[in-house]
Subunit: 396 residues, 2 copies
Amino acid sequence: MEPRPAAPGPCPGDSRGAEEAAAASSLNPAGAEAQPRRRAPAVAAVLPAGGSGERMGVPTPKQFCPILERPLISYTLQALERVCWIKDIVVAVTGENMEAMKRIIQKYQHQRISLVEAGVTRHRSIFNGLKALAEDQPDSKLSKPEVVIIHDAVRPFVEEDVLLKVVTAAKEHGCSDYDLEFGTECLQLALKYGHINAKLVEGSPDLWKVTYKRDLYAAESIIKERISQHICIVMDTKEDENHVGHYLEEILKNELNHVKVTSGALCPARDLEQIILEQCYNYVCVNVMSSDFEETRKLLNMLEESNLSILYPIVVISVYFLDYKSVPFDEKMESLIQIREYAKEVKKRNILLSGLLIYFPQDEQKLQASLRQGVTIIATLIKERNSGLVGQLLVA
Amino acid sequence: MEPRPAAPGPCPGDSRGAEEAAAASSLNPAGAEAQPRRRAPAVAAVLPAGGSGERMGVPTPKQFCPILERPLISYTLQALERVCWIKDIVVAVTGENMEAMKRIIQKYQHQRISLVEAGVTRHRSIFNGLKALAEDQPDSKLSKPEVVIIHDAVRPFVEEDVLLKVVTAAKEHGCSDYDLEFGTECLQLALKYGHINAKLVEGSPDLWKVTYKRDLYAAESIIKERISQHICIVMDTKEDENHVGHYLEEILKNELNHVKVTSGALCPARDLEQIILEQCYNYVCVNVMSSDFEETRKLLNMLEESNLSILYPIVVISVYFLDYKSVPFDEKMESLIQIREYAKEVKKRNILLSGLLIYFPQDEQKLQASLRQGVTIIATLIKERNSGLVGQLLVA
């Protein structure tokens, strides 16, 4: 099994983040010795995640509440993980959630994560995380960082630029770890006890904290929207540019004008491999030449091999065309009903497969109408991303 | 056309709210003359709704953003309207939105609403609303209230008990109108200028304000959840208690255990009329005896006549059973495909109709499995309430 593709972020190709953080490092007034400029600054993150989620009104602590069947904390880990200059991420969880947390790390293939036991208060949890990062732990695999970012486990939408601002401020103001919160509570603590400098770093609305049940709803909608911004159309033919598959593509582009629509072919599959690497979570497999599942099956195999669906459910819609007059309706239906079995199979790998049969009349205006209805159905399936409708054969 | 049923609330039958407000009235220290105990206190509400919604990141002002295709402000009006002791509701909107606001009031049949022009600031808008409520307006149909509630147009989830607390506090503390906000901004104003008493009334998390785009998502999910809490099963037979329709009902009750499931029959339709009056927005029409649309059509007629769908889309799922072996699949399908035409028709009246064909094998275990899948599909259609899938015939 291949590892899942890295989450989107500037890490592998773009070293901007690390360089700017390195620049911040050279400003560090608290640095005991001069740092060689080329060394990347050592940044770690501590996530206190020992909360019980009382305000949520649900029995599960909010950091473990599922969004698209994946626990909230996994989204927060993903957001920190894709920032390559954060070397270690230490999560503080209660003893009773330790095993669940290990399973989350394994299932979603999180990297650079260490676990420590949470304390009775949030500050104790942070302290435990910091202790694990300190050099004097003999059995620790962690390296002692220059800056530690303290980040709430229930703020999943943190962006790299804010984290960079925090690190830069820490370097400039030489302040201690616990004013690196994005709230004011810890800033007030720092100012009150007064032995350290503190600076409130301007956040962004994206930094909001999942507190109430309504915030879980909002988070789910935001995540669904984010992964619906790119649709890949896989066509079983390229020969004739003037066929119904291209009409469908055109209407898809016009009706969903805020969405990026790209085409990929299964043979050669280079483009498609690139699209999968770019983490596109929506595929429309348009079958113009055939009425079988060969093309869809090839696509499903590629997606399964890529492990792209570890983090998010992938929507795959297999589209067929039907001329009511020339081909008997039931004949086509009977052969397409197999989609239910495939769908059940790939559902286990977090791929949501549905079929779409588009009526293809001779009348140009009627054809436009059924293509538009087809696009509405495609948009609905992608937007809702609900596993309750997998294996259905929808008709436009 | 009948008027739409009143929104849920204690008004017509239960006079608790008005009585408590009357009790609050008798405590009024600012009351110039002794009020006869039996007179209900005159309460009005002013909604400043002149905002431009800059923080939302969308061109439409947030109070006009659609939730399930209905503007947010209509939900807020509905919340105030069902409190029968609020006699008048004055909405301040900008000149350019005046016509749109009139159409909203007409389309959703809002009652007791007056419109005034918004001012350049929020406080000016409130002032204009108060002026319209003052006695000295010669052409005003409004009666001068003793207490005015100022309520944000973008807080749609306000509950009667909080409004009552506000009215009671106003009576006790004799404070002016503008501390009746649920925030602190106006309280601070009141305290700063000091000529009046002010009291901060404890709100509830439900009072949150729709500010960002994520709040619209949350509001939509909350509304969808609220109207999905009651499902009515309409059975075309009552004769035999031991048939597949009742199995389906049992599984529906077990799997959706937080949802109220009631049964109604079309003949006699008394129960069903009652269920419609109770504002149930989800109907599962189970056809055991027939494979036509007669029962579903009767139900749709009743729903259309009730005007229940003015405020929220109603989900109707027409369920059929199929023994693959005895009845040819395509024969059943061919007759059921008509559902698309009915669906298109009732969609215009905000009714979302889909069909569900449940495989009915002799094997008991397989039957249970297909019934459970049927329930999953029913739950998905009710939960998502998306018009993109109307007219589809789903298969379990």
